[in-house]
């Protein structure tokens, strides 16, 4: 661009890129390329569904979730988080299938009008294994990857910077919005808002909390738009990236290998060779 010295007065520095931007992760799993970890999580989840049954997903979880999690030193957190994540659906899946399995013949227990069957129990276990495999795979990714790193990596590979912006900003907006709601709730309570009591009173109490959060955020869209455009956001083409996650030929082969294995597995399942 034309123009000269700019407005900054400080002399040019030889300070380089700060090391806190690309601090390497604590374990080899953390240091894997984010796309590799995303591929692993997705392939594991889809494979668990494609395999079906009980043994397949369990082996898959051992190999593709528990082992890497142990290597990364996040096994404890992984188990806690993924169990917490899977709990509501697991309970649901278990009850629904245990008691309401239409083809169930072998009666285990009878509770009033509903009957628990052995067939329903087996099916419930299968669904459970599948759900645990999915939540475990995704939690492993979540615990070892910074979302921003994945977005930067995808941008380097040619994904539009605008999609990257939406993804990154979404991840930061969720907690920011919750915090905002909490602040407004506290303020409304201080003014005597009722979040307890009868149904009707509670419902009336909620509108002054959520209204301002949603409408206030939408009102800020205009200011944010101007601020972004004032910072060159609309410039077409690629932007400069400060740092990019490392990638290796080995990881590239690994990713394609995983995808190929998954495609193979699905093909085998669809054609009915493995059943």
């Amino acid at each position: 661009m034309a123009g000269g010295a700019g407005l900054t007065s400080a002399p040019p520095l030889d300070r380089g890129i700060p090391d806190f931007l690309e601090r390497p992760g604590p374990s080899p799993v953390h240091r894997l390329n984010p796309l590799t970890k995303a591929t692993l999580a997705t392939v594991t989840a889809v494979a668990a569904v494609a395999l079906g049954g009980l043994v397949g997903p369990v082996v898959l979880v051992l190999v593709a979730v528990i082992l890497p999690a142990a290597a990364a030193g996040v096994l404890g957190r992984l188990i806690r988080t993924s169990l917490l994540l899977a709990l509501p659906i697991a309970v649901s899946a278990f009850l629904v299938n245990l008691f309401f399995f239409p083809d169930g013949r072998t009666v285990l227990v009878e509770v009033g009008p509903i009957t628990a069957t052995a067939e329903g129990f087996g099916f419930a276990l299968e669904i459970l294994a599948r759900i645990l495999a999915i939540s475990g795979a995704v939690t492993l990714f979540y615990l070892t990857t910074r979302p921003a790193a994945l977005v930067i990596d995808l941008e380097r590979r040619g994904v539009s910077p605008r999609v990257g912006f939406v993804a990154n900003a979404s991840v930061q907006t969720v907690p920011a919005m919750v915090e905002r709601a909490a602040q407004i709730t506290a303020a409304q309570r201080a003014r005597g808002l009722d979040t307890e009591g009868s149904v009707w009173r509670r419902i009336r109490g909620i509108v002054p909390i959520v209204g301002p959060v949603i409408l206030g955020s939408i009102a800020e869209v205009e200011e944010r738009t101007m601020a972004l455009e004032a910072r060159g956001f609309t410039r077409p083409g690629r932007r400069t990236l400060l740092w990019t996650p490392s990638d290796t030929t080995f990881e590239r082969i690994l990713r394609w290998g995983l995808v190929a294995a998954l495609v193979g597995l699905i093909a085998v399942r669809v054609t009915g060779v493995l059943r």
């Binding site: 661009m1 407005l7 900054t8 007065s9 890129i17 101007m226 455009e229 609309t234 932007r239």
Partner: protein, 269 residues
Amino acid sequence: MSLQLTGVGYRYAGATAAALLDIDLLLGPGEVVGVAGASESGKTTLCLVAAGLAPRTVGGQIRGTILLDGEDVDAWPMHRLSARIGIGFQNPATQLSQVAGTVFEEVAFGPMNLGVPRNEVVSHTWAALETLRIENLAERDPFRLSGGQQQLVAMAGLLAMRPEHLVLDEPTAQLDPEGTRLVGDAIARLAAEGASILITEQKTDLLAAIAARVIVLDGGRIARAGTADDVLADPGLAELGVAPPAMHRLRRAAADAGVAPGTLGSLDG
């Protein structure tokens, strides 16, 4: 290195009345021009027009000419203008990009968008942080800063793009006293070091301290223009909805009370 508005008018989309009319304004290199006026007098609109956001981003229609170093910018897209003129707003929170985990990345966001080479992005970012004396915040999460600190980060984000002119729309309006002092000091330092700044303020004390010239807007037109001393000492200022700076109020009160002006000379600074 000058920004010149000649006969500039602007009206928002769907509005029949103009929000700005017949604005003539010259911002030379190293010059600080203050803009005062009541609320709704057109201060913010003038900032948007001068920085090119109106009509490019907000729509509406413009007339007159805006010259940057003598070149008509009428056909320039926003990203080309944003490399030459930086604009800062009142609300520090909405100026954050929302995608930066650290202050350093936040400040680097603008030059990254402009496609500046990586090593220059880094050096411009450090220089901007240094100029505003916030290098110590580089590693912090921008969401977790005070309003005043966030406003400094937003200004650093503009400086890192190396603009020739800075447009600041009431940069201290939404800050607490501590933040106002922090940001006011930083702007005064920038001005003293020779930055070219167009700044609107309701608090005329800051204008009196840093601006060489001041214009006062009323109903979208320029009602007063001249040196800061002349305009801010104008007895008609209050009628235009502008509170004169404390020192002028004091001096007038002293004159009314019969104290000789010379004895208060030291207050002029």
